[in-house]
């Protein structure tokens, strides 16, 4: 690579980095405005037109605040944890294609930092690292509430990562590739969200839990744990946690768009020299739509209780994801092996599997012991163990 190539690479990285920062700023403002609207408040108003610069003002305030390190803290880990919380979101965005490409200086510059042949796995790897920021922050604070938040969230994030991974497995089986550009190419007629709708739902639930957003924000449940894992953090370190959380939210929305909603594909293309604007606009529009849904979920649903969260993750989400992966496998392989007749077989197998599931499901449903015994408590109150 000559120096122009290197310069272009550096500029691309910088554009993605600052683009993410600016989008985080705008999405935080959007979240505050939408939630304020739902609660019949007005939300931020003063900083900038309609309060759009509120996040910037908050950031400047946090930057100049005193950073306090507790006496009992483990200093090196305490300092590293916010950085670890911030970076996975940025790194995961590397493989997301946010447009087609543009020709500058006689070179074609793709709107994607790296088109790895392990695209989906890269995203899984980076999201699995986001646990460390939370866990280490909680432990190194040398305080009980952060530790509780960290222990909770490490269990939560590992559990929901499995469910999210299963949704990704279904998509990659259906599209037959791990590479992001090929995934988008595979969605040129039908977006994955239509044939893979169950996987989309599983992915969104897992993604909300992975990014510790409400209703799964048990790592920082303020009604029980003060502020959870970042209770002891202040100033710029706290700002880094805040930033990391929203960068992961944007990244997760971008992953959802790329895997399920056709990426940068849209119906209203630009032509000629500005042909690259259309896909970029579609991408931003779709991400905004997904984030709007996440904000609606946050504004609507109450926080889940911890044991119910784990029960839901292990007993509902993961089994459902597994069954869906199996169904996807049947749907993909049978037409390959048996041609068009395979489609009918696949349909029959799905109906049969659904019927079997409805027959078998009552056997595994949770029933209190007192209800099963004759002469027991008639109404099924939960047995405390």
């Amino acid at each position: 690579m000559d120096w122009v190539g290197w310069a272009i690479l550096v500029v691309r990285v910088a554009i993605v980095f600052f683009g993410l920062l600016i989008s985080v700023m705008l999405y935080i403002w959007m979240e505050r405005k939408v939630i304020a609207d739902m609660q019949t408040r007005v939300g931020p108003l003063r900083a900038g037109p309609r309060g759009v610069l509120i996040t910037l003002a908050d950031g400047i305030k946090l930057f100049f605040k005193e950073g306090i390190t507790p006496t009992a803290a483990d200093h090196p880990v305490y300092a590293v944890a916010p950085i670890l919380a911030m970076f996975p979101g940025f790194l995961a965005f590397c493989v997301i294609p946010f447009g087609t490409s543009v020709t500058l200086f006689g070179r074609e510059i793709p709107f994607q930092l790296a088109d790895l042949n392990i695209g989906i796995l890269w995203i899984l790897a980076m999201t699995s690292l986001s646990v460390y920021g939370v866990v280490l922050a909680g432990w190194s604070s040398g305080s009980n509430y952060p530790l509780l938040g960290a222990v909770r969230s490490s269990a939560q994030m590992i559990s929901y990562e499995v469910g999210m991974g299963l949704a990704l497995v279904a998509v990659l089986m259906y599209s037959g590739t791990l590479r992001m550009s090929e995934l988008i190419a595979a969605q040129d007629t039908v977006w994955n969200v239509i044939p893979q709708f169950p996987a989309f739902v599983v992915f969104l639930i897992g993604a909300i839990a992975e990014t510790n957003r409400p209703p799964f924000d048990l790592a920082e449940a303020e009604s029980e744990l003060v502020a959870g894992f970042h209770t002891e953090y202040s100033g710029i370190k706290f700002a880094m946690f805040y930033l990391g959380e929203y960068v992961s939210t944007v990244t997760v929305a971008a992953v959802a768009v790329t895997l399920f909603l056709g990426g940068w594909r849209g119906w209203w293309p630009f032509d000629g020299a500005v042909a690259w604007i259309g896909p970029l606009l579609w991408f931003v529009l779709k991400i905004t739509a997904v984030i709007y849904v996440l904000i609606l979920v946050r504004a609507t649903l109450p926080r889940m209780r911890y044991d119910r969260l784990m029960n839901f993750g292990w007993k509902v989400l993961i089994p459902f994801g597994l069954v869906w992966v199996m169904i996807t496998g049947v749907v993909v392989v049978l037409p390959q092996e048996y041609g068009n007749r395979g489609r009918y077989i696949a349909g029959a197998v799905i109906v049969g599997a659904a019927a079997l599931a409805t027959l078998v499901a009552p056997l595994f449903s949770h029933r209190p012991a007192s209800e099963a015994e004759p002469g027991g408590q008639p109404e099924g109150r939960e047995v405390r163990a």
């Binding site: 899984l124 699995s128 222990v151």
Partner: protein, 206 residues
């Protein structure tokens, strides 16, 4: 110097340093963190060796899942506060020395074999990876070595189920005892006491 060499000479010393740090450091959490960084450097080595799939698996499985569970256990048990005095297991030190010598000997033989014994060069990345690394690996794993792969996974599932059964049995007996010591006072509040036989849960009356 080509880029690969630069990356190697940055990450190889880091890898050795973190491995040593993991053994030397007294604090259990710090040791775990050194191990995480070490996993990372090894993952980068896989990337240099044109094995991107192994890179991703190394990070997802080892750094992302197993080490988080380790940290989870360390934090839950609080073993980071102070070291246990003396050796827990008898003769562990001598066993460790013997095993270390064995590993060094094995590594030396392997390196010697790699340098001198082979007569032909290894087939390049493109030759062993038709259609890209992940799909080539999938072919090997799920077609050529399908049966061993499934047997291994069944083995792991059996181990996991066994661990669950052991843990579940103990906690059940504990809660049974707890219920019996409190028999009568607040059982009705929990809706446990059946109207016919007070103080019994799932067991014939004593």
């Amino acid at each position: 110097m080509p880029l690969d060499n630069v990356v190697f000479w940055v990450f190889a010393p880091l890898s050795v340093a973190t491995a040593i740090g993991m053994i030397v450091v007294r604090n259990a959490v710090h040791a775990a963190l050194f191990l995480v960084v070490n996993f990372f450097t090894i993952a980068v080595m896989y990337l240099l060796l044109d094995a991107p799939f192994l890179f991703a698996v190394q990070i997802v499985v080892y750094a992302g899942a197993i080490m988080v569970l380790f940290l989870f256990v360390i934090m839950l048990l609080g073993v980071d506060r102070g070291d246990a005095p003396g050796e827990r297991l008898l003769g562990q030190r001598t066993t460790a020395v013997i095993l270390a010598v064995a590993i060094v000997a094995e590594l030396a033989t392997a390196i010697r074999a790699g340098i001198g014994f082979t007569t032909r060069a290894p087939g390049g990345f493109d030759a062993v990876n038709p259609g890209g690394n992940p799909s080539a690996l999938a072919d090997v794993l799920f077609r050529d070595y399908f049966f061993p792969f499934e047997v291994t996974s069944i083995l792991l599932i059996v181990a996991a189920v066994a661990a669950m059964v052991l843990a579940l049995r103990r906690s059940k007996s504990l809660s049974q005892r707890e219920i019996e010591t409190h028999a009568g006072d607040d059982l009705e509040a929990y809706g446990l006491a059946a109207p016919g036989a007070p103080g019994t849960v799932g067991e014939p009356s004593r």
